[in-house]
Structure formats: structure tokens, C-alpha cells
Symmetry: C2
Subunit: 197 residues, 2 copies
Amino acid sequence: MSAGGDIEALIDMMARLPGLGPRSARRAVLQMIRKKELLLTPLADLMHHVAATVRECATCGNIGAGQICDICASEKRATGEICVVEDVADLWAMERSAVFGGRYHVLGGTLSALDAVGPEELRIPKLVQRVTDERVTEVILALNATVDGQTTAHYIADQLEGRVRLTSLAQGVPIGGELDYLDDGTITAALRARKAF
Amino acid sequence: MSAGGDIEALIDMMARLPGLGPRSARRAVLQMIRKKELLLTPLADLMHHVAATVRECATCGNIGAGQICDICASEKRATGEICVVEDVADLWAMERSAVFGGRYHVLGGTLSALDAVGPEELRIPKLVQRVTDERVTEVILALNATVDGQTTAHYIADQLEGRVRLTSLAQGVPIGGELDYLDDGTITAALRARKAF
């Protein structure tokens, strides 16, 4: 590729973003260079601005522009409910559904013996401390339905046992899901948790 | 999405890049924020640098760091052959195959009556001028095998008729291609252009 060293470096770096490979990175960079004033320069400005302002919320681990994120700063969200999620992406997914009015606690991953991720790396002590300090009434464990996610959920449940109401997201058939395409585990979970019609 | 206005703006802008949608833009932005020092800041720096330095080559329309691109500046590439391509992406594809040792001419699109793209918009007069000025011996028409691409190739051929050797890329079965999966047009072209084995 005789694109000049800087353009090549930009393509290589773009290709490291999730969802982009070398080919789509090339297309993206070419598009940015074509629309230099509309895309390349504003994008670079915005990235610098975000890099300079965005930080982790000291309370919940969400990302935002201040010491404390918007959700933790809002009095409206002080419902006594804390929803525990693995990741900021999961928090965003919960917020898009706009069904939860409480606050969050972002673990930043799951417990993993293989990767040497212990409770301290995951803000679990901070969660235990919040349950004491914030008069929390309910902790909703919204961890992913994977082995690591469920292991982490059980560990947190052990830590908070008897001190607060603990719940987890319901498991079952997703809305719009067809039985024929569902895995056995989901069908088993949905049948066990069946409700009166 | 309660990601803060700046992060949301960054996601929106990233989602406008080809190959990225809203979901992959969110994942990419989250990854960049996680790796702020390794990814977000260097990427923004590099984009500013590219925006400030990259420009179109005055001769061939390729993008590069100077008034004249590396290929046009290199004496080694003065073979008297000019390969005419639609787009910088096509030039990069040719360069990756590393089989062509001459220079390029990037049209910047194809003739299109519908979109009111005429020869002037496509650097065709500049190509005619280069054939006179640069002692060109052969013009290789490497335009895409689409209707617009072939229309443009015929127009250029008319302009240069009798003044230079005109060739075009061979059409046929792609390497690794299976006949069963090829369209009728390709099979027809490959059969008509059959060679002694």
C-alpha cells in the first residue's frame, strides 16, 4: 500500500478497533480523508475533547464527564436500587431500555481464576461499602448469563447475603424469539420459570 | 444512552464511517475510552496530523503528503505506462498486488449523466495532457467492470485513440474462482478470451 506512512499508520490503528478489520479500516480512512472538513478534523477534535474530559465515576465506575457520573449525581435515581453490571456497554444497554430508574454499579469484568481477576479488581468491595453507606434496599444482579458472569453473581450474593434484597434478571425466551432457534439451556430455564397465563 | 453528550456525539460521528453502524460505533468508542492513552489520544493526534498534511497529488490525483505523491515523484516509476483507476482505493489495490511498476491516474469517479459528472470533473483533460507531456507509451484502463466504468473507459479510449497504446485489464475467471459460483457474464467473457493451454 503506497498510501504514505501516516495514512498507513492511521489505517493500522483504526484496524485495531473492534468491528473493523484492515479492509474496512482502509475504507473508513479513505472516506475520512475525502471528507476532511466534515469528518476527519471534527472527529479528531472530538476525540481529543473526550480523552481530556471523560473519566470513571468514583462511585459506580460508569464513564462520564465529572468526578461523579450523571446517574450517581441525579437525586431522581436515588431509589435504593443498585443494578450490578459487568461493563459500561451493559449499563448503556439497560439505559436504552429505559425501564430501570435506580443507580448502577459497573464491575469492569467478571471474576476469573485464569486471568487472575479477583474481587479487588472488580470494585466488589466498593459495592459492599455502597450497600452500607447508601441505604440500598435491593441489589439487582444483571450479569451476563455466562459461566463467569454467574460465578461472579454467586460470589457477590455471598458477600451481601442477609444485608439487602438480592434479585437477578429473569431468564427465558427473548421477545420475538422462536423456540426452534433457541438453545436447550434457554428452553430449560424458560420452562422451569413458567408463569400462570 | 446516558453516555454524556460528548461520548454520544463521538459515537454518532463514528457511526457515519463506512462499515460501522451504531452498535459497532458504541463498541469502538468504549474500547477507545478504555485504552485512552494507547488508542484514543494517539488516534486523535494522528488524525489531526493526516488532516494537516495529506493532499491530492497535483499530477495523478492520488493522496499523499506533498504537492506530488510518492509514485509520481519516483524516477523508478517513469516507465511510460499510466494505469487509469476510478479511485484511490483501486490504486491501493493495484499497489498491494505489486505487479505494476508505472504511474497512475486517479479519475475520482466515473462519467455519469444522472449525477451530472462530466469529463472535467474526472481529471480526463489532465490525463490527455499527461499523455502529451510525459512521453507516455501505454495507457492501461483499469476501471471497474461496471456499466459506468466501461462507459468511462470507452470515452477515454476515444480521446486518446491513435496517440498511445491503449489496453485494459483482462476479464475472466478470478484465481480460486469456481465456475459454479460465477455469473454468466464472467463465464462468457472468459470463454471468448480463451487462451492456448
